[in-house]
């Protein structure tokens, strides 16, 4: 962990709320993007990130400062995301109005090829999309992903391979047309 971040965490452990706001500034963008990429719903993504930061705040005393903070943080984020996905599948909600609006907004703004690529991502199942998001959006290594998701590293490699194959089939097709 970078030294300034370690100092920031120390301050949070000491009760400094301003330091907590700074931590939010550092992690908010990518945690929102990650939760959104997994749930495909910006309202759910906001709720997930809210719950994640509250859990970080409540449990910061149990965080071991000698270990890297980012995987610890993403473990909480991924657990919250899973919890939301499970809840959503139980409620049987497929497309919420929020999601539809996001989609329409995108549709107006983006060109046709992008829609095809977007569809490629949409057709990945949740397991495959999650590893792709952690690797390509957040830059995690396969080992880090296995740690964050509590999976065997070979499982991560296998999921990434399959996801890439599916994406290649879609994106490759589009690229060939261009």
């Amino acid at each position: 962990m970078a030294d300034p971040e370690r100092k920031l965490i120390r301050k949070i452990k000491k009760g400094n709320q301003q330091a907590f706001k700074k931590l939010y500034e550092i992690y908010a963008d990518y945690s929102l993007r990650t939760a959104y990429a997994i749930t495909r719903n910006s309202s759910d993504a906001s709720d997930i990130v809210q719950e994640t930061f509250i859990k970080v705040y409540k449990n910061i005393d149990s965080y071991d400062i000698t270990k890297p903070f980012r995987p610890w943080f993403y473990q909480i984020l991924m657990n919250e995301s899973r919890r939301y996905m499970k809840k959503r599948s139980k409620e049987g909600i497929s497309v919420e109005s929020e999601q539809l609006l996001d989609h329409l907004r995108n549709q107006m703004e983006e060109e046709k090829n992008y829609e095809v690529r977007e569809a490629a991502m949409e057709q990945l199942n949740d397991h495959h999309r999650t590893v792709v998001v952690l690797k390509y959006l957040n830059g995690f290594s396969e080992k880090d992903i296995s740690h964050v998701l509590d999976l065997n590293v070979n499982t991560v490699k296998s999921r990434l391979y399959k996801a890439r194959q599916q994406l290649k089939a879609f994106i490759g097709g589009v690229a060939d047309e261009e």
């Binding site: 709320q17 996001d102 992008y114 994106i171």
Partner: protein, 261 residues
């Protein structure tokens, strides 16, 4: 399609696809901030109820202060000098480990706005006494004359370096006929600092045993790294028998010491 090209396209796609979520950043923070306020407020209410005595909360409650602080905060606003009491939680409960026993303590924020430092003190056992040259954390219940002194003292020294401050401390210890230098080391706990410890002289007690005794004084100095030509010196004063008690409590309180620039 080449692999690196595919990687690039996946990255671009994910970044583009998730842009909409970032628009929720401020809204999400507002929800977090409100929940933090509620957490702080509920904790206080719980403590008041369980302690059976009112805790004076001067002026605005922390919840309102936090709301005003974070609600009105902008990027440029954060750069302004803020009242330290507005930045930190006023009171909290902490679990500490004393001789292997877990203990919950109520700690209260003490600030020195002029010197820009904060420390949480165990409000059931200690009090902050502000002095002209140093602030002292003393026991609420005074000790009898038969006991050596117990206190923590915070001093700000200007126009000096960490090395100079340590040299002065060592010189004072060497000139003190009742104390001797015991150890000197760099510490990361309870704070990052240079530490110098002095102890009273060994002597023979009434049972004929020579060495450090129950009432041998311990003076521990923590000198912070120099910042803008000044350092903080935190002096912990207690005695051998009080090491696991007051010594440990001082250690936990000192962990919360923080200078806010």
């Amino acid at each position: 399609m080449r692999n690196d090209n595919l990687d690039k396209q996946i990255k671009q796609l994910l970044n583009k696809q998730t842009e909409a979520a970032v628009e929720r950043k401020q809204e999400t923070w507002n929800k977090i901030s409100n929940e933090l306020d509620a957490l702080t407020y509920n904790k206080r209410a719980y403590k008041r109820k369980n302690q059976g005595r009112g805790l004076a909360i001067a002026g605005l409650s922390a919840a309102i202060i936090a709301f005003l602080l974070f609600g009105a905060m902008t990027d440029t606003g954060q750069a302004m000098i803020q009242n330290l009491k507005d930045i930190f939680i006023g009171e909290k409960e902490e679990e500490i480990d004393l001789e292997g026993q877990k203990e919950d303590t109520n700690v209260q924020l003490e600030t020195n706005e002029e010197l820009r430092y904060v420390i949480y003190i165990d409000q059931d056992r200690y009090k902050m006494v502000e002095g002209e040259t140093a602030d002292r954390i003393e026991t609420i219940e005074p000790f009898g004359d038969e006991y050596p002194e117990v206190y923590m003292e915070i001093t700000h020294v200007e126009n000096t370096t960490t090395e100079e401050a340590i040299a002065n401390i060592i010189e004072r210890i060497e000139n003190d006929e009742e104390m001797e230098l015991y150890m000197e080391e760099r510490t990361t706990e309870p704070i990052e600092a240079e530490m110098v410890q002095a102890m009273g002289l060994e002597y023979t007690n009434e049972f004929g045993k020579f060495g450090y005794q129950w009432d041998t004084p311990i003076h521990r100095y923590y000198v912070t790294d120099e910042d803008d030509g000044s350092v903080f010196i935190i002096k912990l004063v207690y005695f051998v028998e009080a090491e696991e008690g007051h010594g440990a409590r001082f250690h936990y309180m000192l962990e919360s010491f923080q200078v806010v620039n």
